[in-house]
């Protein structure tokens, strides 16, 4: 019942054939490596938080040393424009070790990590050798790093502020999954890997290990992941250009859509109940209800894409497909398992939890993107892709609970889709 990761060879050829639209022009000097096989030992999972305690203590001690070294490193980079090799090695190891510890704590990896940050852990960080950095950027680095650190804090609990909701919820769900199944789902694992990878990039940038800004584009982070084909898919045809004037007034411009969406939601809830009853009896949703609810899901996605700057143009009020550049494709009514339908709302609770935290990410990303778009007239690609992921997950969650599909939303943040033969088996709830 569990999909294994598709064979790596297959993924790599696909990636070579079709470099995703979000493939960065240059690879990031701080890269995430995932060699994890999803298996978890139930015993260590059960006691995971306790088992991680020595690492957390050691990490605090290492943290003092690292931030002291970072200060020296900062002086060195401001003066010479380059990180001395010693600092690069030490701080790089600190970034790696932090990633290992949190990967272990949050169940994104299985084995007990070593205490030295040596490369080779199943969830690892690969670093390029030191490169020249702009001294001006180094001078005000902590200031420049604030948006990245805030986004990292909302994603992962590593910085200790804002709670790191996304990964905490993912770890909470992974804990139960691993205890029951002895493994975690690829969706949860990759969601956590993504959050940890982004945090590592944000740390490496703040500590001046690299001069490259963190890239929040999930496809660039998770180069080897692809998701099974889902009946609810997000497509975006967006050139990142943003109109400064509508960006400035984006929130009030969305007000009429809030009003309309609220009214539409009220009707959609009733329609969802009707659709639920139909699916219970017929084993599939009724075509008119399906069409209506699909339009509702699309419309809601258009509105949040507009509000959160993932899309540029003002959306229409009808949820018509193929008009908005950030669009949701929804397959027609298919058979749905009656048992899954019966307990639909209960089953949707984990997805609601994940989506709740992802919407915080969406809002924070939009907050920073708002300034960027206002100044440059462009949406940063990474933030756009991160936002698109959150919107896609939201659309899949809604589609699930309004009984448009019985396929669970998948938490895997990538837009790459597996070939049919690789995704032949049913996807697990993620």
């Amino acid at each position: 019942m569990e999909p294994e990761q598709p064979p790596l060879e297959l993924q790599e050829t696909r990636a070579a054939e079709e470099p995703g639209p979000a493939e960065p022009p240059h690879r990031h000097p701080v890269r995430l490596i995932v060699r994890d096989d999803l298996r978890r030992s139930r015993l260590t999972v059960f006691f995971r938080a306790l088992l991680a305690l020595p690492h957390l203590v050691w990490l605090v001690l290492w943290g003092f040393a690292a931030w002291t070294a970072a200060f020296a490193n900062w002086l060195a980079v401001v003066i010479s424009g380059e990180t001395p090799t010693t600092f690069h090695g030490f701080l790089g190891a600190y970034v790696r070790y932090t990633t290992h510890v949190y990967a272990y704590l949050l169940l994104a990896a299985n084995p007990f990590p070593g205490f030295t940050g040596k490369p080779g852990y199943p969830l690892d960080i690969e670093l390029d050798p030191p490169a020249r950095q702009s001294r001006w950027s180094a001078l005000v680095r902590l200031l420049l790093a604030v948006p990245a650190l805030v986004i990292a804090s909302v994603l992962a609990p590593v910085t200790g502020v804002f709670g790191g909701g996304v990964l905490l919820v993912a770890a909470f769900l992974a804990w139960f999954t691993a205890l029951v199944l002895g493994r975690v789902t690829p969706g949860l694992r990759d969601l956590m890997a993504y959050g940890l990878g982004y945090t590592a990039q944000a740390f490496a940038y703040s500590l001046l290990v690299t001069g490259r800004y963190p890239d929040s584009d999930p496809d660039a982070m998770l180069t080897r992941s692809s998701a099974p084909r889902h009946p609810v898919r997000l497509s975006f045809d967006d050139d990142l250009r943003r109109s400064r004037f509508t960006v400035l007034f984006r929130l009030p411009l969305t007000f009429p859509h809030f009003v309309w969406l609220t009214m539409w939601s009220a009707v959609a809830y009733v329609a969802a109940v009707a659709n639920w009853l139909v699916a219970l009896v017929l084993g599939r949703s009724a075509r008119p209800l399906h069409r209506f609810l699909a339009a509702y899901v699309r419309y809601a996605s258009h509105v949040s894409a507009y509000l959160f700057l993932v899309g540029n143009p003002f959306p229409g009020f009808t949820g018509r497909p193929g008009v908005y550049p950030v669009d949701v494709e929804i397959d027609g009514p298919g058979p749905q398992r009656r048992l899954v339908t019966l307990f639909r709302l209960v089953l949707a609770v984990p997805a609601f939890l994940v989506y709740g935290t992802l919407s915080a990410v969406l809002a924070v990303a939009a907050f920073f993107a708002w300034f960027a778009a206002l100044i440059t007239g462009r949406m940063p690609r990474g933030l756009r892709s991160l936002g698109a992921f959150a919107i896609r997950y939201g659309a899949q969650t809604t589609a699930y609970w309004v009984v448009l599909t019985d396929r669970y939303p998948h938490a895997l943040p990538t837009t790459r889709i597996q070939t049919p033969d690789a995704a032949g088996r049913e996807a697990a709830p993620a």
Partner: protein, 371 residues
Amino acid sequence: MPGDLELRNLRLRDYFSPRQLDRSEDYERFFRIEFVVSQVALVVALALYAWRGARFARESAAGRIGTGMLLGMLGLAVGWLSQLPFRVVEVWWQRRYDILDTGYVDALVDNWLVLGAEFLSICLALLIVMGFAGLFPRNWWLPAAPVFVAIGALLAFTLPYLGDTERLEDSALRANARQLARELDVEGIPVDVEEVSDETNAPNAYAYGLGPSRRIVLWDTLLEYPDDEVLVVVAHEFAHQSRDHIWKSLGWYALFAFPGTYLIARFTRRRGGMAEPAAVPLSLLVVVMLSLAALPFENAISRHMEREADWVALDATEDPEAAQRLFRRFTRDALAQPDPPEWSSALLDSHPTIEERIAMAIAWQDRRRGP
């Protein structure tokens, strides 16, 4: 109000200290200039928007009406931006004269929320206009105008239920107010208090609602005045209700709505008519020009009703002394200039001048004493 009423010329120095006269004159002169400049800025901004604004249609993925809504909201945003510096200057000026207590940030945030409400209103208005214009490209205004009037009536009816006010608590004042209501045939209309003292020191009151939602509202800043003066205000507001001024205002609104919407339809024809989103930017300019043109008429109508309310209040309270003291306070506390330039009161003032209001109280006294 008797038609043959003749008001005496007052010697203002008998009523106000030279300092009060100077201060209110300085205070209000600024607003007159500011008003003219801000309206020029608004018209210029909207003229530019009418000229180039239709380009923003490419920022829309919505249909005909949705795109029109976007253009309408952006037009309001342009207008809002053009007025922003004036809002800041107004706050500065009012704070300088201790009329306003709010900070700049608060004032701008409030302003921003108001903008949100305006965005929603213009979307509704454009939905009506562009919806009808899709069906009747030339004559949409015929069905649209009654809908606007109906919405106006609906708003007039519901606003009191949405307002953030509380019942008047002072029992002595309430008993006297009930007495006045009985005299003016508006028994059962409640007296509410609105808390504004955190933001402003200026006194004010208003009457609103239709039928069962009718009520009058006093700002809590007014309650610091002696009871007999507050009762003059209460009587004035009750007079608005007993003389059906809200219905009459709606009637006037209806009278303006038909020619107004017709003119909008007429002027936007060369942009393809109101069925086209491209006509929306121009229509905003037309609306602003028309309301500026209508302002003197509106104010003349309003002043007429205010005079009537003052006179009815004098009849009801039979206390011209209190009325005079009250009006003098408006100059002292709210810095209302007693004798603004004639062009200004004719074009811009919705109420009679303080000088006129005091003179009316005296005229009432004279009549009572007999010739």
